[in-house]
Structure formats: C-alpha cells, structure tokens
Amino acid sequence: MIDLSMSRPAETHPRGIAWGRLALRFSLYLFLGLFALYYLMPLFVMVTTSLKSLEEIRTGSLISLPREVTFEAWRTAWSGACTGIQCEGLKPYFWNSILIAVPGVAISTLLGALNGYVIAQWRFRGSNLIFSLMLFGCFIPFQVVLLPMARVLGEMGLAGSISGLIFVHVIYGLGFTTLFFRNYYVTIPNELVKAAKVDGAGFVRIFWSIFLPLSLPIIVVTVIWQFTQIWNDFLFGVSFSQAGTQPVTVALNNIVNSTTGVKEYNVDMAAAIIAALPTLLVYVVAGKYFIRGLTAGSVKG
C-alpha cells in the first residue's frame, strides 16, 4: 500500500522526476567533491612540498608534483631542524607531547568517568550545582586562566615541568570528560545500582564491575576528544613549559620561526605533518567508534 502511493508521482511524470533526481544527485556530488578538493588542497601542497628539494621549490610551482621525491626534509624535520639554538628536530618534543598527552588523557578520562558516575547515579545534595559549575568550566576561555594557573603551578612546584602540563590539561579537561560520562550514565537505569547494592557491592565495586565495562563507547569518545585537545594545545604548552619540556606544537612554531636565511619550506611542511600525524591517526583508527559513541544511548538489557 505504502509503496504504491509512494511511487505514484513517478508514474505520472516518470521522465521528469528521474531527470530531476539525477541532476540533484549530480550537483550534490559536484558540490561535495569541490568542497573536498578545497579542504584537501592545503594538505596536498604540504605533502608535495615536503617531498621536494629546496631547489625545486624555488624553481617550480606550488601545486606541481615533485619531479624528484626526496625524504631529506622529513629527516631534517624529525632530527635536525633547529628550534632556536638547539638543532635536534622535533623528536625530543614529540616525546614530550606523548609524555604529556598519554597520562593527561588517561587521568582526565578516569576522573571524568568517576565524576559522571557519582553525579548520574549517586545523586547527593548539591550534585546538580556541582555539575553546573563543572560545565561552566568548559566555557572559560584559556587565556583567562593563564596567570592564576601559572601562580598555582609555581606554588605546587610544578612550574615548567611535564607534570605541571599534565595537571593543567587534566583540570581543563575534567569539565568535558565529566559531561560526556555523566550524560552517558544518566541513561543507565538506577535500578542497576540498587540491585548491586542489595547484592552487597559498594561504590567502587559497582563502578568497576558494572559501569566501567559498559563504558567502552563513551571512553572512545572521551579519549579522542581529550587526545586531540591535549596534543593540539599550543597556548598552555607555550605558557607553562621551559626549554626541554616543550610539546611538539611549540617546537613546530619555533622551527618555522627560527630559520635564518633561506626559509626551508619543505622542512616546515614535513614538521607540520609530523606534528599533526598522531591526531590524524587517532581519527582514522577510532573515528567510526567516535560516531558510534556519540550516538550510543541507553543500554538495552
């Protein structure tokens, strides 16, 4: 019945509709293709430029393919480019970023999960107020907290250290991670907690045995979000680090800005791609879980 009534317009003007639909399809793909091209253009330029020699860059055009592929610029960017007086490339800073991002992501995710669990399932007096305040924390611009944070880090003896940067990122990420987990956990019926209480389980046991195993989709979302935030951060990195603890974003900036004489575009491009690679990788590997996690709702069963 429904099929019949749906196809009736097509029967009365079969040709017109078919053409219209085709044209719509075509222009849709055309537009999408153009947009994709537009967005891919810079990446294309970056990749091709990074594979050219300086000589070729100077003589060739910006968008032409490299005549002779060379990985020299990548090698320089990774281990030889100068970031000021040192010329060790991105390598040490890349490690710094990993040392900051991995614990930063792990700690803020775990704390966010605990916070969300408490706020969603163990409602206490004022829990809504606390949640609102944490949400508010998501919307405070980075710049506002720079000075107070520098002061706090100084008091704690963490100024200029990797631990200090981890601390800053954990604090700043908590609002988001709590929000993610709280919204996920409120969809889980509270009777689960009650049943576990009657079974004799306590606060930690219920979290560990029942809620955490349920959380994979939202953990993926949170990890991607936090990793992207922390890895890509520049402002905190440049403000709260010192020589030796700078993250890769700061080093990239220094490489690009501290070249003397001829600008080595190929090295700059290679460095930029290296710095962006981990987040790109995370999206490619976990992207489909990310979408799934964002739309994952209540737990059936």
């Binding site: 019926p189 009650k194 049943a195 209480k197 009657v198 079974d199 046991r205 195993p213 069963g301």
Partner: protein, 365 residues
C-alpha cells in the same frame, strides 16, 4: 511466632513531599504479602525502604526481630527482584547470578553448586553463558528470579516483576512464583498494581492509595468486605457495583429503595439486622447478581431490570443495566436468554451486600 517483617508508624518524605504516611504492617514467616495500589501510590518507595535503599524519615522497621535503622541493604538478608530486572548488561547469566556471592567472598565451589541448583530449578541451564541482551523478556525475568533465589534470604522483595511480560507469560510466571513460594516456604513482599495478581498470590494483601494503607487482610477479606469505596472499586474485575439507595426499617429488616429511570423504585429487603443511615451506597459484586432462578437461598431476592447491554465472555455473560443512576453489571451463565433492550428478572444475593457511607466512603456493615 515473631513477625519476620515489622513496620511501625513508618513515614517517608522526599524533601517536603510526604510519600508514605504512617505505615503499619507486619508479616509472619512464610507469608506472601502483596502490596497493591495504583501507580504512584508509593509501593516501590515502601519496598525500597524495606530494602534499605531509601532511608525512612520516621517510625521503625525490623526484619527478623532486628531493628534495621543502621543496617545497609547488603546486611539486611534480603533479595530483591526489580521491575526492569536490573540485570548487569555486560555479565553473562551465570555471572549475574553469582555476582552477589562473589562480592561476599563465597568460595568458587559453593558458588558453582548454588548456581547449578538455581539454574535447574528455574530451567535456565542452557542460558548460563548468554548475556541479558540476548534473552527474551520471560528469560530475563527468570534470571532476575535466579539472582534472588541463589541468595536464600530471610525475605524476598519483588517490585512488579511481571509487569513487563505479555499477558500469557504473566499468567504462567504468576503460577510459577506461587509454586516457588509454596515449595520454599519463604517470606515474600510482592508489589503489583494488578489486583488479579494480588488476589491469586497473596496470603495477605495491603491495599494502598496515595501513600496511605487502605486495608490489610486476606484476599477473601479484601474481596468480600472491602473497608472503603476505594478498595471495593479497585479490587475485582469487573468492579463491584455501587448503587445509591435509601434505607428504611420495618419488621422484616431493612428496606432498600433504589430509584429507576423507568417505572417504580426497586425495593429489596435485607433481613440482617443493620443499623444504617438514610442514604447508603450498596455494593454488590457482579457474581452476586444472577439470572432469576439460577440462584436460590433465603437471602436472594428477585427483581425485574431493563437490560442495556449483553457481553458474552465465554464462560460467563455480562449484562449491564442502570439502577439508582449507576451502571450495574451482573455476571450471568453463558447460555442466558438476556436480550439488550428487554427486561430481565435478576436475582440479588443480599447476604453479600456491602454498605458504604456515600460521603466518607467508609464501610458501614
């Protein structure tokens, strides 16, 4: 025999909203207590208070003679089956059932033995390695029961365990629960909003409305002598007929005069010695009104009524009429010759009549 559960003057408020008012209930070991009432009347809240999942704001509650004021759910020696079953979604059926024992540090051999016992009893052995998401509603229900049974507690608490099942399964599980109670001899508190479930399962029924207990009694007490209009109307399907009547005394007893839209008022005489006010509501269950000639006895009186509707229901036929401005349903035998629009002589069994005060709704006899 000391009561297994004893609740005295229990009050429960959320903030300034009083949900449960002055609850007094006690049950003996082996009792099957059913809390019944419309949705939102506080049944689950009371059950949660018994389980210790909600703190009470007044009164006392003891289980097995021990005051529960400072006892956590874990140490109350209870097991609970929830309306949504609340099975742990990421654990297998076996893990769901043994979780409580695992948390309490019971050794693995005992866990396994008890699991097998319960699985056999509930016929869920083939399901033990599945997850709740892979089970049907009825199977989930069994697993939830299994999780409670394996605990072997002093007191079982059930919160509408059958309300998510379809009608047929509900009837099946109902009789299984009844069998279970008879075999275990366990004490149970069972919440439902379904009065048929209450009647069939309970040894003792508590009817609640708006956080206040309306009546406590055996199923037959509740059914035959409801304490007020609410209970009379809530318990039984179709509901008790409630017919406005005027009373007058004479030598034979109490004359009940019921107006009729057409013709003379209907007069019935209750020979029991009743002390009634002038205006009453006369309560009579549909099965206490039969077709004339099909019900005999000193207390039976016949009268002609206009049939408005005839509803065959297989084993019985329901016939409706109007008396005293109220709709009246009679339960007749299946082969009745009643026809809509035609008068029919009905037999009223006055020995079964309940009288209610029309304003307060309280029972008079």
């Amino acid at each position: 025999m000391a009561p297994i559960l004893d609740i005295k003057n229990l009050h429960k408020s959320y903030g300034s909203v009083e949900i449960l008012k002055d609850i007094n209930v006690s049950i003996d070991p082996g009792d099957f207590l059913v809390l019944v009432g419309p949705s939102g009347c506080g049944k689950s809240t009371l059950l949660n208070c018994i389980a210790g999942l909600e703190p009470i704001t007044g009164g006392t509650l003891s289980i097995g003679g021990r005051d529960m004021a400072d006892v956590t759910p874990k140490d109350r020696d209870i097991a609970m089956v929830f309306q949504s079953y609340a099975l742990y979604p990421t654990m297998t059926v076996a893990k769901n059932i043994t979780f409580g024992m695992k948390v309490r540090g019971v050794d693995a051999a005992t866990q396994d033995r008890k699991l097998q016992e319960v699985a056999q009893q509930l016929q869920i052995e083939p399901l033990l390695n599945r997850r709740p998401g892979q089970l049907s509603g009825g199977q989930r229900q069994r697993v939830a029961m299994g999780r409670a049974l394996v605990r072997d507690p002093k007191l079982f608490l059930f919160d509408e365990p059958l309300s998510n099942l379809d009608a047929k399964l509900r009837v099946e599980m109902r009789s299984e629960i009844k069998k279970l109670h008879q075999n275990l001899g366990a004490s149970m508190v069972y919440v439902t909003h379904d009065q048929i479930e209450a009647m069939t399962l309970a040894t003792k029924i508590v009817v609640m409305k708006g956080g206040v207990i309306q009546q406590i009694g055996t199923p037959s007490e509740i059914y035959n002598t409801p304490a007020n209009l609410f209970v009379a109307d809530f318990m039984g399907s179709p509901a008790m007929n409630l017919i406005p009547a005027k009373t007058r005394k004479n030598g034979a007893g109490t004359i009940l005069e019921i107006t009729r839209a057409d013709g003379a008022p209907l007069q019935l005489t209750d020979t029991r010695n009743q002390d009634l006010p002038n205006d009453v509501l006369l309560g009579l269950r549909p099965e206490d009104i039969a077709e004339a000639g099909f019900r005999a006895g000193a207390s039976v009186q016949e009268a002609e009524c206009l049939v408005e509707m005839v509803e065959p229901a297989g084993a019985d036929t329901y016939v409706t009429s109007h008396l005293g401005g109220a709709q009246v349903t009679a339960r007749l035998h299946a082969e009745t010759s009643a026809l809509a629009g035609k008068p029919l002589s009905l037999a009223f069994d006055l020995a079964k009549v309940s009288y209610f005060e029309p304003n307060s709704g309280m029972r008079l006899n």
